[in-house]
């Protein structure tokens, strides 16, 4: 049994860590002090051993929920026969300095009875270290309920009397009448003295400050198209997945949520993939969030500095190369999907497409701000040199399978893009004072072009194919237009688009990544449907067709506008890690593509967003 579906969760966070909260009011996932820290609550992966923190009415109730507009503050409304309870969940944040002390990490939950008289039930079952630690919650009197583990103090302060529950943890019930409210503050720190915020009006003041801070950030979004609500929600989700001290964006907030229910493809995504940098930076830049884009690319420059000219597939939020992977056998996994893994052994794979994405991200920074210093420009050239020497090598490719290396079209396409971007930057004069082997890069780029046109094209299928000389298609080929390798309205691209749709469409615009996924029963991959919207907007279809495809993709978000990595074609629900940054990046990018296409239709020849 598992406590709630992936799709039933919403996320809150504070720029360091994130919590997933179910429709039933249970915090089923929380890792502290960072995204990739050990979990305190992991009921998503094991309802018994994982731990959770539930607030909700005793007895049946109808739950509806949503974020307060333009914020990451969640409100869940329980309508029971006796009345209505509203739970407000957040991790407090503040703009600038405050006159009071702030806890290192805090989860704040405030409950109000809006109508009638409702009995509130509290169940607090902390299980530190992914449920491996055996610890007791101790009564600290006015200082709250205290749990100490590995040098960390987890303190729960509540306005509801609690008592120890059988099996550990705490439980309690209280009857709330209309207008009454109670607050719960769960803090974590490795500092002594801990900061223990008072409850009551002080809690509500912090709710107000946090709402204000999120709204002020969301107001900076300069997208003004018809899908603003979805775009702002995606931007807010990306911001929640951004580690504030470094600017790194983690791929998702969770580990080991399965791509196939009951399957073994359960990976840890709480790290920052190099590949995502270009997509993410472009999305942030497109929305007007220059600081976030520059912070992420700067993190990439720092992270890759020690490993250059080789790049890790991903780094942690501080830019450290992490290669370890551990199986947690004591956790049953979501819907029995085992093993549960922490860490990700894909770190050491060869994924040549990452080089193209990294160079593209750095090129965006160089083009927009020209803030790259000479050493960073030299590093870009060294990465280009590595690409020029390695582009023909078989690699694991963008989808990082653990089944061996092949000559992937998309990897070689990304290598072509890497050299193309470098040469264009050189033409713009960005590499002043830095030696660039221009002729060598041009020669290799031409060879890549020729190879891709000749060997990645399958005349029988009338389509580009996923591996050189192969006969299968892959949704990543839709990015050929995005990378300026093929015009979206070229005959080859139109034909490839048709073939992808024919072989990979799950239903109603949902696309599988590749033909292996179709056979293995995986879900449709979230971002691929958005890539298709981009190709349509660029010329493979009309604007109206692109707009319709985009609206269909929007329908697969959950009730609070969030996407997982994949979408089940059968149920339309999320599969895989959640929420997935790349899917939200895809939504933003395709919304921006639609705006650009709209602007082109109204004023041909004007390039609006690149």
């Amino acid at each position: 049994m598992y406590p709630a579906r992936i799709h039933d969760h919403a996320i809150i966070g504070d720029g360091h860590s994130a919590a997933l909260i179910s429709r039933a009011g249970a915090v089923n996932w929380l890792c502290w002090p960072r995204f990739d820290g050990p979990s305190l609550f992991a009921a998503l992966l094991d309802a018994e051993a994982g731990g959770a923190f539930r607030l909700g009415p005793v007895g049946p109730a109808r739950a509806t929920r949503g974020y307060l507009p333009d914020t990451n503050v969640l409100q869940t409304r329980f309508e029971a026969d006796e009345g209505v309870l509203v739970v407000t969940d957040l991790m407090p944040i503040h703009e600038g300095h405050t006159p009071w002390l702030m806890p290192e990490r805090e989860l704040l939950r405030c409950v109000v009875c809006e109508r009638g008289e409702v009995r509130l039930e509290v169940r607090y079952e902390p299980r530190p270290d992914y449920g491996r630690a055996r610890t007791l919650v101790k009564d600290g009197g006015t200082l709250g309920w205290r749990l100490e583990h590995a040098g960390w103090l987890y303190a729960l302060r509540a306005e509801v009397p609690l008592r120890p529950a059988p099996g550990g943890g705490l439980q309690g019930q209280v009857t709330l009448r209309a207008g009454q409210c109670v607050c719960f503050s769960l803090t974590a720190t490795d500092d002594g003295p801990a900061v223990l915020p008072p409850l009551g009006r002080f809690s509500w003041a912090r709710v107000g400050h946090t709402v204000e801070a999120w709204r002020s950030w969301a107001a900076q979004c300069r997208y003004a198209g018809p899908h603003r609500a979805a775009v702002v929600r995606s931007a807010l989700a990306l911001k929640l997945l951004t580690f504030a001290p470094s600017g790194a964006v983690v791929a998702a907030a969770t580990t080991s949520l399965p791509e196939v229910l009951g399957g073994q493809d359960n990976w840890d995504y709480r790290f920052c993939w190099v590949r995502d940098a270009a997509f993410t930076a472009r999305a942030f830049y497109g929305l007007g969030y220059e600081a976030e884009a520059e912070a992420f690319v700067s993190w990439l420059l720092r992270a890759s500095w020690l490993t250059q000219p080789r790049l890790g597939v991903f780094y942690d939020v501080y830019g450290r190369f992490r290669t370890g992977e551990e199986v947690l056998p004591h956790l049953g996994g979501y819907a029995g999907s085992r093993p549960v893994r922490v860490g990700n052994a894909a770190a050491t794979q060869l994924q040549l497409d990452s080089y193209g994405e990294a160079i593209d991200a750095m090129a965006q920074l160089a083009r927009r701000s020209r803030r790259l210093d000479r050493d960073e420009l030299r590093m870009m050239v060294r990465l280009g040199g590595y690409v020029a020497s390695m582009w023909e090598a078989p690699d694991e490719g963008i989808w990082e399978p653990r089944s061996g290396r092949r000559a992937h079209t998309f990897s070689q396409l990304s290598c072509w893009m890497a050299l193309d971007r470098l040469l264009k930057l050189h033409e713009l004069g960005v590499f002043r004072g830095v030696k660039v082997p221009v002729e060598g890069f041009r020669t290799v780029r031409a060879r890549m072009w020729e190879t891709l046109h000749r060997r990645a094209w399958n005349e029988r299928l009338r389509s580009y194919v996923s591996t050189l000389g192969g006969d299968e298609v892959d949704a990543d080929l839709l990015l050929m237009a995005w990378y300026d390798f093929e015009d979206a309205s070229s005959e080859r691209m139109l034909s490839t688009h048709r073939r992808i749709l024919e072989r990979l469409e799950a239903r109603d615009g949902l696309l599988y990544r590749n033909e292996a996924d179709v056979l293995e029963g995986e879900g449709a991959f979230g971002i691929c449907g958005f890539w298709r919207v981009g190709v349509l907007a660029r010329g493979a279809g009309g604007l109206d067709e692109a707009e319709a495809a985009f609206r269909r993709q929007l329908a697969y978000a959950n009730d609070v506008g969030l996407y997982a990595e994949e979408i089940s074609p059968k149920t339309g629900e999320g599969l895989g890690n959640f929420p997935q940054a790349l899917t939200h990046v895809g939504l933003i990018s395709s919304a921006l593509e639609l705006e650009a296409a709209r602007a082109r239709r109204e004023a041909p020849g004007v390039e609006v967003w690149r």
């Binding site: 300095h97 405050t98 006159p99 009071w100 002390l101 702030m102 290192e104 600290g140 009197g141 006015t142 200082l143 100490e148 590995a150 040098g151 960390w152 103090l153 303190a155 302060r157 720190t189 490795d190 500092d191 002594g192 003295p193 801990a194 900061v195 223990l196 915020p197 008072p198 002080f202």
Partner: protein, 158 residues
């Protein structure tokens, strides 16, 4: 003059070692006790600045306390590692048994166990022997101060 210089140099060196030991013990998860943070919150509510200001205050107070050690050496008529260690035991005992218990009354941002946190007073009080900051806090504090005294006594006699 030479005595003053020896106090300044070796007092500062011993304080650095004490600070390093306390910070290291927190990093090793032996205790949560963060003395610079506790001292820094006397003057600011900003947690990052508190750690910076607190470091300065801790170095300063280390110098002042080392002056008391030097005074003890002068009164005894000699400095030695064991005498320094003995004063360190007294110093740690004073901190654990006298300073920490009265801290909620002295610290403007510290809550008391009887009243709990308020808008202004949100810091967790240390409790008996600083045990609220971890069960090993008294031992870590004692060892760090004994090392401080042993070092100062040994170096001062050179």
């Amino acid at each position: 003059m030479i005595g003053l210089l020896r106090w300044a140099v070796w007092g500062f060196a011993s304080t650095l070692v004490l600070t390093g030991m306390l910070a290291g013990s927190q990093q090793l998860r032996l205790t949560r006790f963060n003395l610079p943070f506790l001292l820094g919150t006397l003057v600011t509510a900003d947690r990052d600045r508190a750690k910076l200001y607190g470091l300065g205050l801790h170095l300063l107070s280390g110098m002042l306390f080392s002056g008391l050690y030097v005074a003890a050496f002068a009164a005894w008529g000699q400095a030695s590692w064991w005498l320094g260690g003995l004063v360190g035991v007294l110093h740690a005992g004073f901190v654990l048994l006298v300073v920490l218990p009265v801290l909620p009354a002295l610290h403007p941002r510290m809550a008391s166990e009887s009243q709990g946190p308020t808008d202004v007073r949100q810091l967790e009080p240390p409790g008996l022997l600083g045990l609220n900051y971890g069960a090993r806090t008294p031992v870590v504090t004692l060892i760090a101060h004994v090392v401080f005294g042993v070092l100062l006594g040994a170096l001062y006699q050179l």
